[in-house]
Every structure is written in C-alpha cells, then in structure tokens.
C-alpha cells in the first residue's frame, strides 16, 4: 500500500528563518502527494499538491514543496517563517484514498 512518513514529530524555528518539514513516500507508480495544515480544533486545510509536472510546487501562504523522485521525498519549505505558521502539518498520499502521515508540529518562535 502507498504510504507517507514524517520523520519529525516536532520542528522548531525562529521567526524569519527558513523552515523545512520533511516527508518521504513509499508509492508504486506515480505518486499523488499533498500537504495539509491544521490549526487547533479545526479541520485540515490544503496547502499544495504534486501530481505531475515541475518538481517544485508552490502553494498557499508562501509554502512550497519539492518532489524528489530519487530520494522519494516531498519536503515542505518556506523561505521565511512566521509565528502564525505554527500549526500541525500533515503530508498525504492519494492511494486512491487520502492517507496521512503522522504529522509534524511546527513551532515558530518570535
């Protein structure tokens, strides 16, 4: 079965610094990969997706992700973190159902 893994439970960065939230995938065939963000007591919000095309995908709120086939990775990045980016981030794969990684809590400190 297709799956994604998020190796870090927690990521801490200072405001203004670049951030990376890691995701690796295990997929046979062409992967459909997604990133979602969740704020407390809310549903998940879609950030970006990779289906085909350019390996660098740009999404909402200044986030981007790079699809790397050789490393089977789809890391989420942002050049300059904001305190308001602090949230729970989930990587997901469409299998064809949407299945999620364990999540990474991002904390951005002022």
């Amino acid at each position: 079965a297709q799956s994604v893994a998020q190796p870090e439970d927690q990521v801490n960065v200072a405001e203004g610094n670049p951030l990376t939230v890691k995701c690796t995938y295990s997929v046979s065939g062409n992967p459909y990969l997604f990133w979602y963000v969740q704020y407390p007591n809310r549903g998940l919000q879609f950030l970006l997706k990779y289906i085909t095309g350019d390996n660098l995908v740009k999404g909402s709120y200044g986030f981007e992700a790079e699809f790397n086939k050789s490393q089977t990775s789809f890391h989420l990045k942002k050049p300059s973190a904001l305190v308001s980016d602090s949230a729970l981030y989930f990587c997901a794969v469409r299998d064809p159902d949407m299945r999620f990684g364990a999540g990474t809590r991002l904390t951005v400190k002022p």
């Binding site: 979602y36 007591n41 998940l44 879609f46 729970l88 064809p96 999540g103 809590r105």
Partner: protein, 111 residues
Amino acid sequence: DAMVIQNPRYQVTQFGKPVTLSCSQTLNHNVMYWYQQKSSQAPKLLFHYYDKDFNNEADTPDNFQSRRPNTSFCFLDIRSPGLGDAAMYLCATSRATGEAFFGQGTRLTVV
C-alpha cells in the same frame, strides 16, 4: 462559498447512547470521507464513498456506520459510543483525483 459543513461542531453524548454526526457539501464532489482524529494524531480513515459505492476500512469498528442518502449529505452513526470513541471526526470531499476539502470537524465527547 462552496464548502463542507459539519454539524454540530461539538457533541456530547452519553456512554452507550447512539449519536449521529452530519456532513454536507456544496462542491458536488463524488467522493466523501469520514476520518477519526485523536489528540493531534494522523486522521484515520473510517469510511469513504465513491458516489454511492460504500467502502469501510478493515479495522473500522462495527460500532460505526455511515449513510450517504444523496451527493450532498453524509452521516456517521455511532451505535453505542464508548469512552474510546471520543475524538474529532472529520468529513472531507474530493473529486476522483486531487485534493480533499475538509469540514471544520465535530468534536465528540462521551460522558
């Protein structure tokens, strides 16, 4: 705005008393999902519908059932809630491919 709406946002039910959570969508998506999420863990897929075709995950407890009377509505029924069923329940919709759109969730408390 087109969206996914879950009612209620917060639900308190008694141990063993049946409860129904509802979800509606204005996106006209053919796929609908129910997820259970506990304590900031990954959402766990309970059921999904492709149009009227119903699929439940192998490890979804028999205590959970779902109905989709039409494209717009989907219900999650918990026949006899236990303390372990306290969680956030998330409804989502999508087309056959592409991203899922989530409702705000229903937080279920079992007392």
